[in-house]
């Protein structure tokens, strides 16, 4: 993990304006199309926001040293998760996978040999993300990795608004805990509740899925976000209150 990521509150970005800027400066047609598709206006109610849950499985946590192994995404709204629009790719990392991550991601070497390079799926991936707000669980993987990969292939990074269900869960847990618990945590003897995807889902009585598969995790994240909104937020809440 890089040291910088926990530094301070994430800064607020005016995403629609930022997208116009980026569209104007983009040199590659499919990147230009991605930015041109734009993003919803800042005050749009959550109920009206088209979203896409995204999950990358990677060989590690650092975009500079680790590679993407697989990508899963599923488009959704607060009312429906559309499995028919789900996409899943296994991609060839630059380096060979060590046996351990093969085990974790349940992807075999044969699968990898026949898989395309990431550059080949990037245009398609951006098309699937275009016009939608990306939802991930733990914001320090998907965006930094995609940014890094785009930088490597096109010379320009990738920016987009993001909703992080892990961050939302942290907020919700902090908001709902008792004074005693807060004090206990400050002194340091109360165990913090887990923010792992499976643990978060359990709090909303969502089913247990097999973890570490990009497609399943993307689906799991979309379901979790629906549940979090049902519990903690108004459907009319402006998306800019929780995206970053």
């Amino acid at each position: 993990m890089t040291g910088s990521k926990r530094a301070g509150k994430p800064k607020r970005v005016d995403w629609p304006a930022r997208f116009s800027e980026l569209a104007a400066s983009a040199s590659i047609p499919w990147m230009e199309r991605f930015y041109q598709a734009g993003t919803v206006a800042a005050g749009t109610a959550l109920a009206d926001v088209p979203m896409v849950a995204l999950d990358l499985e990677t060989t590690g946590l650092e975009p500079h040293n680790n590679a993407i192994v697989s990508i899963g995404l599923v488009p959704f709204s607060l009312d429906r998760i559309r499995v028919s629009g789900a996409r899943y790719w296994v991609v060839q990392p630059r380096r060979r996978l060590d046996p351990e991550s093969v085990l974790i991601h349940r992807i075999t070497h044969e699968e990898l040999e026949s898989a395309p390079r990431f550059s080949a799926v990037l245009p398609e991936l951006l098309e699937a993300l275009a016009g939608r707000v990306v939802v991930v669980h733990y914001r320090h993987i998907e965006r930094p990795f995609l940014d890094q990969v785009c930088r490597r292939w096109t010379g320009a990074g990738l920016e987009f608004p993001l909703i992080d269900t892990m961050l939302l869960e942290g907020w919700a847990l902090r908001r709902n805990r008792s004074l005693a618990r807060r004090l206990g945590e400050r002194i340091g003897f109360r165990k913090r509740k887990s923010l792992r995807l499976a643990a978060c889902r359990q709090r909303y009585h969502l089913p247990t899925y097999t973890a570490h598969h990009a497609m399943t995790d993307a689906l799991a994240t979309a379901e979790l976000f629906q549940a979090q909104v049902a519990y903690h937020f108004r459907r009319g809440l402006g998306v800019d209150r929780i995206w970053m």
Binding site: D79, S84, Y204
Partner: protein, 623 residues
């Protein structure tokens, strides 16, 4: 998108009507699913709303209401709703609310309609508007709930986790933790056949109770702490059978076998997750009651579960064994209560059920037939006071629970039926060795027996002994065969029935006396001849077929007839209960439709032929 990666498909696959789909269709459905989360108490379908999808409950539960707001039904994981509005192309009439936090899969109308058109089993399942009105459609076609139509293998999600008996408990605990299972199978160290031979099972609770609580070292071999597993289910058994086996033996885990090879473990939680509202859980409540009053209070539940099973289309075999399992649990609990009051028995004993309970084919209308097998050290003067009190306590309790006293005094309260094992063997030896017909007619009920409580191995050894003896005694079989022909099926009844319509005196049909009982008699003769120790008539037919005593088509006919006669009897009793009257065996033929009448007539004809065949097969031998 690789659909096999999706959890969605694996979940759908385990629940009807999706369990009836081909792989290809299952893939199509899974790919078309849309998902939404509903917090507890939120509305899923509102009255008058237009509906465009079939709703499938992936997790949680919902409550269905009538349009006047009255509660109608609760549905749980794997169940569907909204199909009625979809099929009828009308707006929602039964609003639905999330009872718990619920995850719904929506299956678009286009996909749903297409499946209904192309897959008959799927269409049949969803088109039954109100399942409580559903009735058997005949001998062959039979819809049912998932417990009765889903096979055990569908719930076995992983291969059996297995270790040899010499492995340490620490190793087992590690494997169980790594594999995320709550039970593992123990197999023989060096199976002679080369394939794993099941010795027993070790569960989380065994490790807690037998290892940790006893302070045993981690190196203790598994074989010392396992439960020797005598009970298992076959992968192609129905879930229902697995549930019955667990309830009957009071265990929470069962090894799943496929032709002698262990393939997995199924636990009660799997089944509970599958069908939380199963009526058979009344059996668990029986074991929790503290006194007779508590048991009496459960009677409405017992009867309710019977009605529900019949209405849900359970086969007669399932209903019969469920009723017997409930009856057995009641007896066991009464005996435990009596022992608690009277103290431990002075000598070991086995409480035995005779008749329909022993055969696992009980109905609600049955009197109590039971007896006691005592240890051979039994001394009447010294010990009988205890057993008389025990028998009275149980038989009186059973009478309170609507099992009337046996008119023929076949009850443990009869001192003649409290005998040591040796005396019982002697008595059976006389019946078999010097059979005379009147005597046998009275005693044939004793030949169906099953241990209910205590030293059930006494009953097992008696069964085995009887099977060995009887199969080698042609005179006995001839006599028994002759008796089995005395009660003829009411074939003429159907001729009379035609006349009745023109105004003659109306008659009732006693399905038990004229149908079930003679059928059971016929099957018993063949079963004893083929040295079968089975008591259940369907199991006996299996053994008879295996022994080659009857042809496959004869067996199939008998099976269908038995099923139909018993099924008609059960439906009649369920209707009695629904109309608020005490159930009986007297069917008014006017209430049967033409279809049922024709089937019943066929069933009786099969019975009459089977009786004629007995005459040819077993000669009456003069002794």
């Amino acid at each position: 998108m690789e659909v096999e990666q999706l959890e969605i498909r694996e979940h759908l696959r385990r629940h009807p009507p999706f369990s009836f789909l081909s792989e290809e269709d299952l893939n199509r459905v899974s790919m078309a699913v849309e998902i939404s989360y509903f917090r507890a108490d939120s509305h899923i379908l509102c009255l008058g709303q237009e509906i465009a999808d079939l709703h499938y409950i992936r997790q949680g539960s919902v409550e269905v209401f009538r349009s006047n707001g009255e509660f109608y039904n609760r549905l749980g994981e794997g169940e569907i709703f909204g199909q009625i509005s979809l099929i009828a192309r009308r707006s929602v009439r039964y609003p639905v609310r999330a009872h718990e936090d619920t995850l719904i899969y929506f299956i678009p109308d286009s996909v749903f309609s297409d499946l209904c058109r192309r897959n008959e089993a799927f269409a049949d399942f969803v088109e039954v508007e109100d399942r409580t009105r559903m009735r058997h459609a005949g001998l062959q076609s039979r819809a049912g709930t998932e417990m009765m139509t889903t096979r055990v293998e569908r719930l076995v999600q992983r291969e059996a986790v297995m270790l040899p008996g010499s492995a340490s408990v620490t190793e087992a605990a590690r494997r169980m933790t790594d594999d995320g299972v709550s039970a593992m199978l123990v197999c023989a160290d060096d199976p002679p056949s080369g394939q794993p031979q099941l010795l027993g099972i070790v569960t989380d609770s065994d490790l807690r109770r037998r290892v940790l609580a006893e302070d045993l070292p981690g190196a203790t071999p598994l074989a010392e702490v396992m439960s020797e597993s005598l009970v298992s289910v076959e992968a192609d058994d129905y879930l229902f059978a697995a549930l019955l086996a667990m309830l009957k033996h009071n265990v929470h885990h069962l090894p799943v076998m496929r032709r002698l090879k262990p393939v997995g473990v199924i636990d009660l939680a799997d089944l509970v997750g599958h069908e939380t509202r199963n009526s058979l859980f009344v059996v668990r409540n029986i074991h929790e009651q503290e006194d007779l009053d508590g048991l009496v209070q459960l009677l409405p539940d017992v009867r309710g579960s019977f009605v529900r099973m019949v209405n849900e289309g359970a086969t007669a075999n399932m209903v019969g064994s469920a009723v017997a399992t409930i009856g057995r649990a009641l007896k066991q609990r009464l005996l435990e209560m009596a022992e608690a009051r009277l103290g431990p028995p002075p000598v070991p004993y086995c409480f035995v059920a005779h008749g329909s309970m022993a055969r696992d084919e009980q109905s609600l209308v049955t009197d109590q037939d039971n007896a006691l097998i005592l240890d051979d050290t039994f001394d009447r003067a010294e010990h009988d006071g205890y057993f008389r009190a025990l028998a009275e306590s149980v038989c009186d309790g059973l009478a309170e629970l609507r099992y009337p006293y046996c008119k023929g005094k076949i009850m443990a309260t009869n001192p003649d039926l409290r005998q040591p094992l040796a005396v019982w063997k002697q008595r059976f030896a006389e019946w078999i060795g010097k059979p005379d017909r009147p005597n046998l007619l009275k005693s044939s009920i004793f030949f169906d027996l099953d241990g209910v409580h205590g030293q059930t191995q006494y009953a097992d050894s008696l069964k085995q002994w009887i099977a060995d003896r009887a199969s080698r005694s042609p005179a006995f079989l001839g006599c028994l065969a002759h008796n089995a022909q005395t009660r003829t099926p009411p074939l003429g009844f159907f001729r009379d029935f035609v006349l009745e319509k023109s105004g003659r005196h109306q008659d009732f049909l006693d399905l038990k006396r004229r149908g079930m009982a003679p059928m059971v008699d016929v099957i018993r003769v063949h079963a004893l001849a083929s040295a079968s120790v089975a008591q259940n008539s369907f199991r006996r037919l299996d053994d008879i077929q295996a022994a080659g005593f009857l042809t496959g088509s004869m067996i199939a006919d008998l099976r269908d007839s038995m099923e139909f006669i018993a099924g008609t009897q059960y439906r009649h009793q369920a209707e009695n209960l629904e109309r608020g009257i005490e159930p009986d065996n007297r069917v008014n033929p006017v209430t049967l439709n033409t279809f049922d009448r024709r089937n019943l007539k066929d069933a009786f004809r099969v019975l009459a032929n089977a009786q004629r065949f007995l005459r040819l097969r077993y000669r009456v031998v003069k002794v």
